[in-house]
Amino acid sequence: MPLAMSGLILVALAACAVLLLGLFRPQLAYPATQVFLAAAVVVELMTGTSSGHWWGGLFVQDAFAAFIKPVLLVVSMAVFLYGRPMVSRWPQGEYYTLGLLAVAGMLILTSAGHLLTLFLGLELMSLALYAMVALDRDNDMASEAAMKYFMLGGLSSGMLLYGFSLLYGITGTMNLQAMALALGGAGAPGSAVVVALTFALAGTAFKLGVAPFHMWLPDVYEGSPAAVTLFVGAAPKVAALVLLARLVGQGAQANLAIWQPALMVLALVSMAVGSFGALWQQNIKRLLAYSAIAHMGFVLLGALAGSEAGYGASIFYMTSYAVMSTAAFGVVLVVCQMAQTERIADYAGLAERSPWLAAVMMLTMFSLAGVPPLLGFMAKLEVIRAAVGAGAVRLAVLAVLLSVVAAFYYLRVVKVMYMDAPTVALGRSPDVTVPADIKLVLGLNGAMILLLGMMPGHVLHWCQQALRGFLLPS
């Protein structure tokens, strides 16, 4: 048994333990989850460097996995922290168990060097997410969202599997490394390779929430309870990028000519849909959903370069996005608790009611819009550089223009918070005290957006390091 599996095993055990705890001592489910996750972070940091391949690539540990796994775990910890007040009204054991299972799925996916484990991890994560969305059973919106998510997710998994099976049929192997060699050595790829990769990409694009496979995303984001949206919107996105990097970057790196134009189209459509779609939204979660679509387009900008630097930029972008999205949904959650509202108009007067919260939200919005010197700006700069490096200059220019469009709706939120008169929701709401730890972590989250933006050097460096040797020699 490889040492590097310890973190994964710990998380899986945690899921079992928390399920039982939820039955007998529900109030312990949350602290146990956090303790297990914290332990997993420590274990990952300690064992992450012991790299290697096991069982024919079913389990792989490399610098990439060693970087991604702690990120996934830490993001999930923050998400569970923010979600706690809302989750405490639900069956808690189930929420945390499902969350831990999703995390376990992501960890498997991150360490997959094989189509089987890639799919296994992805499905473990997805199934847990579907169930999480439906967890609040009396909520009609959530049930509808869960149904849509599940059905469309099933369709996308089908597409992904179809792509996988074709790839297996073409290359005769499911090991990504061997597949890369087989695909690279076969001369000009036939239509079968195109079809296989397109289907696999379509499935991946669905998980990422990239247009035109994004239709589920606004409905699910809006329909799910905020605590679940928060979860769906952070770590699973990172995992989906991992899927893309492993599958396309490692498995099909020789077929750049096929998937690069596809990614360009997906990136452009996604940025456009995300930027324009959010313009008229009244619900903050829906707005953030479109924002997510646009940001996934930017993530693809880095990935389409197909180089280690490009994936590094993408990973940096995605990590930054996870930080920003967590902060944004964290604030949304607190406001949800405070005023039972998700309407953007109801954020009016937040700056007076709770300057601290409004400041974090403002920082996050500016960062999402890509205002220097915040994190979002640096991330955009990196992916755009990667895209320009790959020769996609026109796409890069369009990306910048579209981000200007997007700035409009982010700034609208800031304007509402700081300049509009409070509406009934916030004005009349009772004083809900925000737990101190949530306040603290939200503050830290905001500070990270600012500080990492001003000194991105280290994180960027880690991202580039993580990708060193990622592309297999072929």
Partner: protein, 651 residues
């Protein structure tokens, strides 16, 4: 490590004061003064280690990478920056203490402390910069702080206007500064001092031409950089903002607009002395601009009646002296005068603030008088400052100013003789306006006529229109502390700075010039120079006109109305700018706004785009129907289209 603390402590304090300290005055001033105090101690310790020894370098992080060039953030401490951080933290600390008393009860108390701590941070980053990027960062940070502080009482239209003016005029300077930096980066390929200096000779030989004119890269970039210095150090013709900046609270005038920020231009030229030294053209320009500023602005000071404005014009004049010293290649002497000036000018400003407080925020000297007996501490410390300013033998200004005069006398640049003459005349003018202030404020009888006219209604200082009395201890203590270096700094710093011992190898210094002698010898030698007699003559003239024969100034004014008008209008610079430059800019702006912006951009570009964007947004909203089968259908269509396109596109 300790070096990093020097700028970071004030930054942290500014953040604390600006967030949690806004509504907790005691916390705000404790944190900021404490932090700056500690920063001062740390600065003194590291400076002691560096002066005369090896430079110290602290690397923080890599900020950005451009085309393989790494922009680095770190600190660089050598003799020059060591001196600067010591002076900056020292004066800043005293101003923090002073402001506790001066700003008491102001509604923006916490904000004020946050601003000045932020300013201190910016100034420290500026002087500790190891390259142009950080220099520019500090440059802009102090500019921002200055803008915020000039307009601190933002309910007063004149204050906001003055803040805006300072910002705009500095923008003109910054434009040149930025262009200069860009030019150096283009031709030298680096933004670090050491690397640019290493290529200075190469730059001097590279020639650029435009519009049929040719010049060396070095000269052009030095001139551009000097434009930046002209803005920040308020040299002709960009001096107009400094007198107006007196709208800010007095501690600010002392800290920013006298002791530290305005000297940033001087510091910058000294820092870049290896570049300027290679360009006689640039040096000549620097010398002449400085000389003209010193003389012309000193003259304006003679006719001002607002106590702070007199000191402001005096600052302009003294900055002119420093600039002239830079032009004469006497960089360390310029820094010498910068240091002594920082002490005595901060002293004079704080003393003026003390007087203003006592007079219930009255700033017109014609309403003052006789304060000598009522405010003895303020009087005696002011006198120290005044003597230092005019260069009375033994006081700090004497050493530095005489050194400048000597340096200019030795210079061989074209126009150096003229410059020397003018600077010498300025000494007389300095004596005149300085002692005019002293006599008007502290001698004679109190002329406070209309005590109810308290138009700056901010704060309640507990004294209600009774006879002025001495200020509280937090106010007078900094005066006393500053009086000490005002008297002694010249003597003590003579060898390190007057002769440039601390700055050897840091700025360009000249060995073995004839004034390389001890402080006492120099002082004795100075007694033979005409300067001190001119200064005393100025003081005597002030005595004659304002004490012995008080009706004389008014008669003179009537007689020479034309001259007075020219002076009070600052030679028409204001009018020139507001009537022509500003009007032209506003006209252009109007055209751009009405025609280009409202018509072309809003109407066609934005209007059209917004319309399109709105339509696209609505279209997308309609596509998002909420029906599961629509979504599934969209996915399948997308896959089909992608496959078709990729497969055909691949052929």
């Amino acid at each position: 490590m300790m070096l990093s603390l020097v700028p970071l402590l004030p930054l942290l304090a500014a953040i604390v004061a600006g967030t949690v300290g806004l509504k907790r005055p005691a916390l705000a001033h404790t944190v900021t003064s404490g932090a700056v105090g500690f920063a001062m101690v740390a600065a003194l310790i590291v400076s002691a280690r560096v002066i005369g020894g090896e430079p110290m370098q602290v690397s923080w992080y890599d900020w950005a990478f451009i085309q393989g060039y790494t922009m680095h953030v770190g600190l660089w401490l050598d003799g020059l920056s060591a001196l600067m951080i010591s002076v900056v933290t020292f004066v800043s600390f005293l101003v923090h203490i002073y402001a506790i008393g001066y700003m008491k009860g102001d509604p923006g108390y916490g904000r004020f402390f946050a601003y000045i701590s932020f300013f201190t941070f910016g100034m420290l980053m500026l002087v500790l910069a190891d390259g142009f990027v950080q220099l520019f960062f500090g440059w802009e940070a102090v500019g921002l702080a200055s803008y915020l502080l000039i307009g601190f009482w933002y309910t007063r239209p004149s204050a906001t206007a003055a803040g805006l003016k300072a910002f705009l005029v500095n923008r003109v300077g910054d434009m040149g500064f930025l262009l200069g930096i860009a030019m150096l980066f283009t031709y030298a390929g680096s933004l670090r001092y050491s690397e640019v200096f290493a290529r200075a000779a190469m730059l001097a030989e590279t020639s650029v031409g435009f519009w049929g004119m040719h010049g060396s890269v070095l000269t052009l970039s030095c001139l551009l950089l000097f434009v930046g210095a002209m803005g920040k150090s308020a040299q002709l013709p960009l001096q107009v903002w400094l007198p107006d900046s007196m709208e800010g609270p007095t501690p600010i005038s002392a800290l920013i607009h006298a002791a530290t920020m305005v000297t940033a231009g001087i510091f910058m030229v000294a820092r870049l002395s290896p570049l300027f030294e290679l360009s006689p053209v640039a040096l000549t320009v620097v010398l002449l601009i400085g000389t003209l500023t010193a003389f012309l602005m000193g003259l304006v000071g003679v006719v001002q009646t607002d106590i702070k404005r007199v000191i402001a014009y005096s600052t302009l004049s003294q900055l002119g002296y420093m600039t002239a010293a830079l032009g004469a290649s006497a960089y360390s002497v310029a820094i010498f005068h910068l240091a002594t000036h920082a002490f005595f000018k901060a002293l004079l400003f704080l003393a003026a603030g003390s007087v203003i407080m006592a007079m219930h925020h009255e700033q017109d000297m014609r309403r003052m008088g006789g304060l000598r007996r009522l405010m003895p501490i303020t009087f005696w410390t002011s006198l120290c400052g005044a003597l230092a300013l005019i260069g009375f033998p033994g006081f700090s200004g004497f050493f530095s100013k005489d050194a400048i005069l000597e340096a200019v006398a030795e210079s061989h640049l074209p126009g150096a003789g003229f410059a020397w003459l003018l600077l010498l005349l300025s000494v007389f003018v300095t004596g005149l306006y300085t002692f005019r202030l002293i006599f008007m404020v502290f001698f004679g009888e109190l002329r406070q006529q209309d005590p109810g006219k308290d138009h700056h209604e901010h704060g309640d200082h507990g004294i209600h229109h009774h006879a002025p009395s001495e200020s509280p201890m937090v106010v007078w203590l900094p005066l006393v502390v500053l009086a000490i270096p005002s008297v002694l700094a010249g003597f003590l710093l003579w060898r390190p700075l007057g002769l440039g011992e601390w700055l050897r190898g840091v700025v360009v210094t000249h060995e073995g010039s004839e004034h390389a002698q001890g402080a006492v010898a120099f002082a004795l030698h100075g007694l033979w120079s005409p300067a001190i007699y001119l200064a005393m003559a100025g003081a005597a003239a002030a005595w004659y006109a304002y004490v012995a024969n008080p009706s004389l100034p008014e008669r003179l004014r009537q007689r020479m109305m034309g001259v007075w008008r020219i002076l009070i209008n600052q030679y028409g610079f204001e009018a020139l700018y507001s009537r022509y430059a500003t009007a032209a800019a506003r006209g252009l702006g109007l055209v751009l706004w009405r025609v280009v912006d409202a018509g072309v951009v809003d109407g066609l570009v934005v209007g059209g785009t917004v319309g399109t964007m709105g339509r696209m947004g609505r279209l997308l909203k309609r596509l998002q129907s909420g029906y599961l089968y629509h979504y599934a259908f969209a996915m399948i269509v997308a896959v089909v289209l992608l496959v078709t396109w990729l497969d055909w596109g691949g052929r």
